[in-house]
């Protein structure tokens, strides 16, 4: 038995040893191959950071920060991520977001001076305040509910009142006006939302290095909030195949600080101010974020400026006759010319990884020649304004000014036409009468059917939904200006919907004008044939629709006087008291009785003091006073208003004066 047991134990131990060896062997040889197979399926999460700088024609500088985190679909990792922010991942997972864009903007984008059609401005010019739109991987019926939950989640995440978009009066469901075909899109805007550091901090927390390293190190709060335009944006794209992509961009327009009274020097010479990263941000760029795959600073010269430099017959090295860059660029790229007569812009690339704590990177430019250029023009400039005055009614007008239509449309024949899509959401308390739509073109009134090609209008419902207007207009190419007007009545809010104080007015969010015929795209080609991989530049390559947001409008509504409830209460109480008093008086009074009583009263009418005396004397005598004294006749009215009354009044007055001024003071 023992023998058997020993043999068995040796067999087990041998088996274990053999198994161990086999395991070691297997793990040494087979597992790496398995793992490499897994790597082929599962891409790693990627983070890239880029900063694009661009001098603007009106002596300002555009700085565009672009951070991108890519999380491929990962069945292995499950809910764990290396770089991708967990908060956003949970959001995407829970609400089944297909696409989402949230922007916080302060200031207005100047389409005429800062660019009205280039891909960068098209993607990053946003209306003031908060704008949010999203599409979901969910059935139509669940979307409104999902949207409401999403707004709450986002407002918690970004410290802002996005939850105001929850109410059905605040968001709308555009069909084709906002994006060409979007049936499950929800759109909402809060023009009054103030944007400041409390929104930026949570936004930065989503980055792997926050603002401790890399390009984000430049985000010095005082300098970025001093700018003329500030728009932080978060964009999410998620799909089963490619995973989730999170793009975080921050677009700032800064004014390089110049000496205050250098006004004369640059106004005459009109040399652009020289600047560098350090002077713009008061912060130094020291090394890249260690987790970033790419970290790059780009410097762009617009095509009009580039052509001006071409005229000066200088090449595009970093030191030429027109300007001088402070650092040598690593790469230079030019836009591929799509049309022969089109100028092409120039792009310089700088690798952040070359810088370090001891040697910070300070990209800057020093101008040598005075240059005047203009930025890319929009085909049509749109602006919106209110007409009329007073608290009762008004009208909204949108004007279109054609500026450089011929550049956009190659066929200059008579038959050509440009399309414009107007998407406008109007709150319910501005009751727009859509039948009053009037269109004037070059001073002549047009019939609607000639100009409007497609129209979708959902009128507002009181306290339920805003009015949404989607219009596709067709203008002939030789149009100079066109105006679209809509009349409205100003409604009344419910008492508890008014802001607590007499307010400034109510806002109508920006309208969005899209030009479906006009695409802005730009693809770069490096001068030296080295590969130039960037996450930002492919964005420019995709055909972006040319679009522009109009101004936010302020509608002063009738504000009730909120001390009114008090007045109403006192008023109604007085009236009720009077009414009930007199009613009761009339009801309980019996006229015959009254007359008899008044006669008897009148007969016994006498002064108060004699009456008291009489009572007193009768008390003293222990007898009831005689009630009947028929002898006295009816006293005349003169006795009522007679000297007696006068004396009484005078007596009371004298007493009051005496008491007031001699007794009170002592």
């Amino acid at each position: 038995m023992a023998e058997l047991r020993r043999r068995f134990s040796t067999f087990v131990s041998v088996f274990i040893i053999f198994f161990f060896f086999f395991f070691v062997f297997f793990s040494a040889i087979v597992l790496p191959t398995l793992a490499s197979v897994g790597d082929l399926v599962e891409l790693e999460e990627e983070f890239t950071e880029e900063l694009l700088l661009k001098p603007l024609p009106d002596r300002k500088v555009l700085a565009h920060f672009h951070f991108e985190i890519l999380a491929p679909p990962s069945p292995v990792n499950g809910r764990h991520h290396h770089l991708f922010p967990k908060a956003i991942a949970q959001l995407v997972h829970k609400f089944q977001i297909r696409e989402l864009e949230l922007s916080f903007t302060q200031g207005r984008w100047n389409y005429e001076r800062w660019g009205g059609s280039d891909p960068l401005s098209m993607a990053n010019a946003k209306p003031p305040g908060v704008e949010l739109w999203a599409t979901f991987h969910r059935p139509e019926s669940e979307i409104d509910h999902t949207w409401k939950n999403l707004t709450h989640a986002l407002s918690g995440l970004f410290c802002s009142s996005i939850n105001f978009l929850e109410s059905s009066t605040a968001f709308s469901a555009p069909h084709w006006g906002f994006q060409p075909n979007s049936s499950v899109l929800r759109y909402g805007a809060l023009p009054r939302e103030a944007v400041c550091t409390e929104n930026l901090t949570p936004w930065l927390k989503l980055l792997p290095c926050r603002d401790r390293a890399g390009v984000a190190l430049l985000l010095n709060r005082p300098s970025i909030y001093r700018g003329h335009y500030h728009s932080q944006k978060l964009r999410l794209i998620s799909s089963k195949l490619t995973g989730v992509k999170l793009e975080q961009t921050l677009t700032i327009v800064l004014h390089p600080s110049v000496e205050r009274y250098g006004l004369d020097s640059f106004s005459d010479g009109s040399t652009q101010p020289s600047w560098s990263l350090n002077s713009l941000f008061k912060q130094q760029l020291m090394g890249k974020c260690a987790l970033a795959k790419d970290s790059r600073v780009l410097f762009e010269l617009e095509h009009d400026l580039a052509s001006q430099i071409d005229e000066t017959e200088s090449d595009y090295t970093w030191r030429n006759a027109a300007f001088e860059l402070s650092t040598m660029p690593d790469r230079v790229a030019r836009v591929m010319k799509s049309l022969p007569n089109q100028d092409s812009s120039v792009l310089y690339g700088f690798e952040v990884s070359k810088s370090s704590d001891s040697m910070p990177m300070d990209v800057g430019i020093k101008w040598k020649l005075p240059l005047i250029w203009s930025s890319s023009h929009a085909p049509v400039y749109a602006s919106r304004f209110l007409m009329g005055s007073g608290n009762e009614r008004g009208s909204i007008a949108i004007t279109f000014q054609s500026s450089h239509l011929d550049e956009w449309l190659s066929t200059g024949s008579d038959g050509c036409a440009v399309h414009a899509v107007v998407f406008q959401v109007v709150p319910w308390y501005v009751k727009v009468y859509y039948h009053t739509l009037n269109i004037f073109m070059d001073g002549k009134r047009q019939t609607i059917s000639d100009v409007v090609k497609r129209m979708k209008i959902s009128p507002s419902e009181d306290k339920l939904s805003p009015g949404t207007m989607e219009l596709m207009l067709e203008f002939p190419c030789d149009m100079q200006s066109a105006t679209l007007t809509l009349d409205f009545d100003k409604g009344f809010l419910h008492v508890d919907e008014y802001p607590p104080d007499a307010n400034q007015g109510f806002d109508i969010p920006s309208a969005l004008i899209t030009y479906p015929d006009c695409y802005s795209s730009r693809s770069y080609q490096t001068v030296d044939t080295s590969h130039f991989k960037s996450s930002l530049l492919p964005k420019f390559k995709e055909g972006n629709l040319v679009q522009s947001y109009t101004e936010v409008l302020l509608v002063p509504l009738t504000t009730p006087d909120f001390s009114m409830p008090y007045n109403v209460i006192t008023f109604t109480c007085t009236i009720l008291a009077l009414y009930f008093g007199s009613m009761l008086n009339v009801l309980r009074r019996r006229v015959g009785e009254e007359e008899r009583l008044s006669k008897s009263k009148a007969s016994e009418r006498r002064g108060l003091i004699p009456l008291l005396l009489l009572k007193l004397s009768s008390k003293l005598r222990g007898k009831r006073p005689e009630t009947m004294q028929h002898s006295s006749p009816l006293p005349s009215s003169s006795s009522f208003f007679g000297p007696k009354l006068f004396i009484k009044v005078v007596l009371v007055a004298v007493l009051a004066i005496f008491w007031n001024y001699y007794l009170k003071d002592s």
């Binding site: 009106d58 302060q106 200031g107 207005r108 100047n110 003031p128 305040g129 023009p191 001093r226 700018g227 003329h228 335009y229 500030h230 205050r260 009274y261 006004l263 106004s267 602006s383 304004f385 209110l386 007409m387 009329g388 005055s389 007073g390 007008a397 000014q401 009037n438 004037f440 070059d442 001073g443 002549k444 009134r445 100079q480 200006s481 105006t483 007007t485 104080d501 007499a502 307010n503 400034q504 007015g505 806002d507 101004e551 936010v552 409008l553 302020l554 002063p556 504000t559 007359e595 008044s598 009148a602 009816l634 005349s636 009215s637 003169s638 009522f640 208003f641 001024y661 003071d665």
Partner: protein, 704 residues
């Protein structure tokens, strides 16, 4: 009338207190009305004493909280523009467009959006039914219209760096483009200096619009037409064909310099959101020498509308306490010199001292000098409100519910003294910067302070609750007397018909008088519309127009009398007391309505109309008194009736102020024309309330 009381049945006497009180008032209507009238006049005279100090009600305004940035460097900028304008004037003295061009270049230099606004001056037109509407669609700009009859405003807009562009503050500088004087050039320079300073400001939250208004044919027209195009543009015309460029091309010597002129870009009307406040800035030359620079505030807009008191308060606070300017609001000099008011002031001072000696806690502290000044300021404030005509181009803003004020700055030295002018510009610039900054701080619209007030000094005001008392006391006798007259006639008919059966027609007798009153008011309406056809007749003098007006109105009165009042049997029935009662009722309703539209008109109207209504009674039905008082009464009422006829009142006033030699027939026509051009409701009051009431009073006076 006191004898009525004896006849009252006892049941009526024992009715409720309120009725007894009313019947007491009615039965003593003579005493009550005289007492009310006197009390009303006393309260009116005491108003300067009752005025309170102004205070800044809206906390957000914070005037003077920030340090002023306007420095001597900006003054140099202003002086440079003034010099440039003068240099250009010597080069091309005829055309006025060089100023617009200069201003445009300066505006572009500071980074503002610039455009020119071309407008046409409207001729004086009578719009009979547009008194309360601001949206008058006047003649559309024609392509062929030259630049001679039109003006060119230059407008620059500074967009607030981080603002959302929903609100704007407007700066207006009117200048005469044909013949620019140094004061206009200085105001342009000052505005430019402030504008360029603000373009660099980081605190800006509202857009700033600078309107350099071409006031060749009147500054109001220039500002009003710009405002009209801002709020109610006309799209159906072709504004691009009108060609501002042509105005610049025709007489442009410097075409090469002007090559940057992009016609479309400078022709596009740009806007900047809802306007929150407007400041009209003018530099004036006053020849008197003083210790301090002077600032005159003008605030009265059409129909007695005033800007919010807070706007005046911040201007006064900054001007008086920060820049040390001598702030003035309009006042009447003749009251300052009047011995009557001076003596009244002295009496009040003595009385207040007496009161103070009785009880030291009473703080009346009336100073006779203050009283005289307050009275003269109050009188001017009331006069301009009552006239219903704006005192400056700020009036155009009030028509669109925008608070606006005109600031007239005048230096203490002459314009030749460069140092004096520089320090004056420095103070003016800081003042404007401060006001703009205060308004910029405002989160809401102006609503916190008063809209209904009179000023008795730049820092003293009387609110509506106080000045209403005077009017209420003046107007109170009218319904009481009307009731008294009505009850007396009903008593009379009852006593007369006591033996007979009271016919139903007798109790409705007042309808006949009501009909007469109605016809007279209808006539008033007719003659208020008569100036429209008369003014269409070309080439007539105002005297002829006036005569035509009088003849036509007399004729229409006759026609109406023949048509409507043909049944003389009824009019004979018409009792004068009933007629007076109904006409007084109509007048009191008219006065109360007017007090809502324009309080000052109603107040001054009541001072004329109420004594007339109370005094008048038929000449041959005087009370049973001796001959002498009767004659005095008759003459007094006749004089009163004469004096309250509007043309005569105007004539007396004009003669009193300018000497009787200047009085002419056409004065009233000119006055009426003046009123309707400015859409003043005072005209309507005169024609629809005052004149019919006067005619009825004459009718009563001559009643058989």
């Amino acid at each position: 009338m006191a004898s009525l009381d004896e006849e009252k049945p006892p049941a009526a006497r024992k009715s409720r207190l309120i009725f007894r009180l009313f019947s007491f008032l009615v039965s003593h209507s003579n005493v009550v009305s005289v007492a009310c009238l006197i009390a009303g006049c006393i309260v009116l005279l005491l108003l300067p004493v009752l005025a309170k100090n102004t205070y800044i009600s809206e906390n957000a305004l914070m005037p003077g909280a920030a340090k002023s940035m306007f420095s001597n460097q900006d003054v140099l900028e202003a002086n440079k523009l003034v010099r440039d304008i003068y240099d250009q004037r010597s080069v091309e003295p005829k055309s006025g467009t060089y100023i617009a061009r200069l201003i445009r270049k300066r505006m572009e230099k500071v980074g503002a959006e610039v455009y020119h606004h071309k407008f046409k001056y409207d001729n004086i037109q009578f719009h009979p039914l547009s008194f309360f509407s601001s949206t008058t669609h006047s003649a559309i700009l024609q392509n062929s219209s030259g630049c001679v009859s039109s003006g060119v405003n230059s407008i620059g807009i500074i967009r607030a760096p981080r603002g959302d562009g929903k609100e704007a503050i407007i700066l207006v500088t009117p200048y005469n483009s044909e013949d620019i004087k140094l004061n206009d050039a200085l105001s342009l320079g000052l505005a430019y200096a402030v504008f360029s300073l603000i373009s660099r400001a980081v605190w800006l939250a509202k857009d700033i619009v600078w309107l350099a208004a071409d006031s060749r044919h009147g500054e109001y027209a220039a500002v009003a037409s710009w405002l009209k195009d801002y709020h109610n543009p006309v799209f159906s015309s072709d504004p691009w064909g009108s060609g501002i460029g042509s105005c610049f091309e025709t007489n442009n010597l410097h075409k090469k310099n002007d090559s940057l002129f992009d016609e479309v870009a400078h022709n596009v009307f740009r806007r900047a959101g809802t306007m929150s406040a407007a400041l009209v800035l003018k530099v004036m030359e006053k020849n008197e020498r003083r210790e301090r620079d002077r600032l005159d505030l003008l605030a009265e807009a059409s129909n007695g509308q005033m800007p919010n008191l807070d706007l005046i308060n911040i201007v006064h606070f900054l001007a008086a306490h920060r820049q040390g300017l001598d702030v003035n609001v309009g006042s009447f000099n003749f009251i300052l010199k009047s011995a009557l008011i001076k003596n009244l002031g002295k009496v009040l001072q003595a009385l207040s001292k007496l009161a103070q000696s009785l009880n030291p806690t009473w703080k009346f502290g009336v100073n006779s000098g203050d009283f005289v000044e307050g009275t003269s300021t109050l009188a001017s404030s009331m006069y301009y409100q009552a006239l219903g005509v704006p005192t400056g181009s700020h009036g155009a803003f009030r028509d669109f519910q925008i608070d606006a004020i005109t600031m007239e700055l005048s230096p203490r030295t002459s314009f030749n003294n460069e140092n004096g002018i520089s320090s004056f510009l420095l103070r003016g610039g800081r003042l404007i910067e401060g006001v703009v900054r205060s308004v910029n701080n405002l989160l809401e619209k102006f609503h916190q302070s008063f809209f209904l007030y009179f000023l008795t000094a730049p820092d003293k005001f009387i609110s509506v609750g106080v000045y209403m008392i005077a009017f209420a006391l003046l107007a109170a006798p009218l319904p009481i007397v009307a009731a008294a007259l009505f009850s007396s006639t009903s008593k009379a008919t009852v006593s007369r018909n006591s033996d007979k059966k009271v016919s139903s027609s007798e109790s409705w007798k007042w309808l006949y008088s009501a009909k007469v009153v109605f016809i007279v008011h209808l006539w008033g309406l007719m003659i208020s519309l008569l100036p429209y056809p008369i003014s269409r007749v070309p080439q007539t003098t105002s005297t002829n127009n006036m005569l035509a007006w009088i003849v036509l109105s007399l004729f229409s009165l006759l026609v109406l009398h023949l048509l409507m009042g043909s049944s003389r049997s009824h009019s004979e029935h018409c009792n004068w007391e009933l007629l007076k009662s109904v006409s007084i009722t109509a007048a009191s309703v008219g006065l109360c309505l007017m007090s809502i539209i324009n309080f000052s008109t109603a107040q001054i109207g009541a001072m004329l109309l109420v004594p007339l209504c109370l005094v008048v009674r038929p000449l041959n039905k005087q009370p049973q008194i001796s001959l002498f008082p009767k004659a005095v009464y008759g003459i007094f009422s006749l004089l009163l009736v004469m004096a309250t006829f509007p043309p005569v009142t105007l004539m007396i006033l004009k003669g009193f102020f300018h000497g009787f030699s200047s009085v002419s027939m056409g004065d009233f026509w000119e006055f009426a024309e003046f009123l309707w051009v400015w859409n003043s409701a005072t005209y309507l009051y005169l024609m629809l309330v005052h004149l019919p009431c006067w005619v009825l009073c004459v009718h009563i006076l001559l009643h058989p």
